[in-house]
């Protein structure tokens, strides 16, 4: 009977989940980051399968708040995507990456509330000495001159300050670096279901780089073309960013350094200044 089969399958999945969780504890305590990352993904996949089986056998069981489509929390998806692109990324790129690499949908409209949550969580961790700060926060990228948040562009708090600051050349430099990283990932997932969506993403990004043929987004060609363009612009960008980072460290407190500042009351100058 079908229900027997699915019951058997459920037992198997739960057993696998248990051993994956045990292994995860071991990997985390021993500090094996690579293994822990892999196991975390395994656990997420297994949990999704478990939930699907449970609901298939008895649909009346209340569903967890998130659907199967996104049983990985938004925050983790975003962090994963940023770790892959390796550079400050637009909400759009983050959602393209999660879709192509993990077939997960990220609701970009929720990113601004995620940003607020992250700032709030960070502040609380500072107020309460006993409370542990998270390892990583999703933070806004900041402008290199005024240190204000750049609209719709997010970064990870663990990155060096200079990478989180956006100088004039940075949008292009970051896009090229992310394209290189994604092209490498596309080669790495060759042979899996994710290969073709990743190739498409790389081809689309690569098409704007000089020397790449349209529709010919072959990863090696894209990587080479991106590196060639980077050679011409990256040095200036690094210089501008690191100078800005020095200023930032000299001027800003820890919170502003992560979450940026706002320019208040530009209009409160004495009236009658400019005509």
């Amino acid at each position: 009977m079908a229900s027997m089969e699915s019951a058997q399958e459920l037992i198997e999945v739960v057993t696998a989940l248990r051993s994956a969780n045990d292994a995860l504890i071991k990997a985390t305590t021993s500090g094996d980051v690579v293994e822990a990352t892999r196991l975390l993904q395994d656990v997420a996949v297994l949990e999704r399968r478990r939930n699907r089986l449970v609901h298939k056998s008895s649909p009346e069981i209340a569903r967890t708040t998130s659907s199967y489509e996104s049983s990985i929390p938004l925050r983790d998806q975003v962090i994963q995507a940023l770790q892959l692109t390796g550079r400050p990324s637009s909400a759009r790129l983050v959602s393209d990456v999660t879709k192509s690499r993990w077939a997960e949908r990220v609701d970009t409209a929720k990113l601004s509330s995620l940003r607020r949550d992250e700032a709030r969580s960070w502040r609380r961790s500072q107020e309460l000495p006993g409370r542990q700060a998270r390892d990583v926060y999703v933070v806004p990228a900041l402008t290199y001159d005024r240190f204000t948040p750049v609209r719709g562009t997010i970064a990870l708090s663990t990155w060096p300050t200079s990478l989180r600051l956006i100088a004039p050349l940075s949008p292009r430099v970051d896009m090229l670096h992310s394209t290189v990283a994604l092209a490498e990932e596309a080669s790495a997932v060759a042979g899996t279901n994710y290969e073709s969506p990743m190739m498409r993403l790389v081809a689309r990004l690569g098409a704007t780089i000089p020397g790449v043929k349209p529709f010919g987004g072959e990863p090696h060609a894209v990587i080479e073309a991106a590196r060639a363009e980077l050679r011409e612009i990256e040095e200036t960008d690094e210089l501008e960013r690191s100078e800005a980072a020095e200023r930032a460290h000299a001027q800003l407190d820890a919170e502003v350094l992560l979450f940026g500042t706002q320019i208040r009351t530009v209009t409160s100058r004495v009236a009658g200044g400019s005509g």
């Binding site: 790129l93 005024r146 750049v150 609209r151 896009m175 011409e232 320019i263 530009v266 209009t267």
Partner: protein, 389 residues
């Protein structure tokens, strides 16, 4: 002559205001010499609402689907560090590889830095920042921005300050500033819809002109602004962007002349009977009677403003009204610019026919010339009709 509300404001009265934009300023080119349109534009009257009120057909002029499609295309083109724009500008505007320093002056981008600044204050802020960026381009080109998203410039239209938002400004270190305009109508097999294309060209001319004025303001030569502009369009039926460059110098010159004649708007309104003003627009859900009454009042107010009905009028929201009016007055303008031009100062259709048929004696030399032309035309028409019979 009053101090508080000028003639423009008092004519508009309670009628909804719609700030001018490039599209509307470009409309000034499409209806050259129309005092009615000029006065309404200068008074910042909401023309769409006025048009639907007097014609009794409540229509929104731009489809929400078209707007969404336009926004989606624009978002795609500027995504990932303006990747598509960078690629197209390198190909068509000869931007060098390092010339990709970019900056976003969109209202939404600035709100991150300046929370609480909105409306006119935001426009002023953006215009000020655009001016600063332009000064940097002249002072230190190597460190200035090459691509500025949503720059904002100002233009004076009949005493009214118009804020204009450019899609992208491109600046080449060794060269000049170009206007880049993103449009979402397709270019199919290398050709775009000519009507839409020419509207875009005129709109872009408005941007170029305002930039030239900005250059004069900051003490630079206006020819720093290159009149070769890049228009970004979807290729064929896909969403893939492609670009065309076009020199709009002629349009910019024409527009400059046009704008120079605009201040007469105040004079036009001074010349109409005192107290002529548009009615307040009935609220949403107002009854048919109320709408009809307001429509009549609006038509009466408009009657005081002389129109100039030409072939360019089709895109004006008041087109139907003015056409019906021309027909009612049996004006030669109703028959199109070519006929109206041939008829010279004879503006009445009946008079023109009489002249052509020889039933009426020409009153002066110019009427005599018109009569000769029309008589030849009439003879040709008779011949043609006779030949067919």
């Amino acid at each position: 002559m009053t101090n508080a509300p000028g003639p423009l404001e008092s004519f508009r009265g309670e009628f909804p205001r719609q700030p001018l934009n490039a599209r509307r300023v470009a409309g000034a080119l499409e209806a050259p010499g129309c005092q009615r349109r000029t006065a309404l534009d200068a008074a910042a009257v909401n023309l769409d609402k006025l048009g639907s009120l007097i014609s009794g057909t409540p229509t929104d002029r731009q489809s929400p689907f078209a707007l969404t499609r336009g926004n989606q295309f624009e978002q795609q083109v500027v995504a990932n560090g303006m990747a598509e724009i960078v690629s197209l500008a390198r190909r068509h505007l000869n931007l060098e590889i390092p010339e990709v320093r970019q900056h976003d002056l969109s209202a939404s981008a600035l709100q991150e830095a300046y929370p609480g600044v909105t409306g006119t204050k935001m426009n002023e802020l953006r215009a000020r920042l655009t001016r600063q960026r332009a000064e940097e381009m002249l002072a230190d080109p190597a460190h200035a921005y090459n691509l500025i998203r949503h720059a904002m410039t100002r233009l004076d239209f009949g005493g009214e300050t118009v804020y204009l938002e450019q899609d992208v400004l491109a600046f080449a270190i060794g060269g000049r500033i170009h206007v880049v305009e993103i449009k979402s109508y397709p270019r199919i097999d290398g050709r775009a819809d000519p009507t839409k294309a020419s509207a875009t060209v005129r709109q872009t001319a408005v941007y170029a002109l305002s930039l030239q004025q900005l250059m004069l303001e900051i003490g630079a030569q206006p020819d720093v602004v290159n009149t070769t502009t890049m228009i970004v369009l979807p290729e064929n039926l896909s969403f893939r962007p492609t670009a065309v460059t076009i020199d709009i110098d002629m349009y910019v010159r024409r527009l400059r002349r046009q704008l120079a004649s605009v201040p007469r708007a105040a004079e036009i309104l001074d010349a109409i009977p005192a107290g002529t003003r548009l009615p307040a627009h009935p609220p949403n859900g107002a009854g048919a009677d109320e709408l009809a009454a307001a429509g009549t009042a609006a038509r009466e107010a408009l009657a005081a403003l002389p129109p100039r009905f030409t072939d360019g009028c089709v895109s004006c929201p008041l087109f139907h009204h003015c056409r019906d009016e021309a027909e009612l007055h049996r004006s030669t303008a109703r028959l199109g610019s070519a006929v109206a031009g041939a008829c010279g100062n004879v503006t009445d259709i009946a008079a023109a026919i009489d002249l052509a048929e020889g039933r009426r004696e020409p009153a002066d030399a110019s009427e005599a010339a018109v009569a000769a032309t029309l008589a030849r035309g009439a003879a040709a028409a008779r011949l043609a009709a006779g030949g067919l019979a």
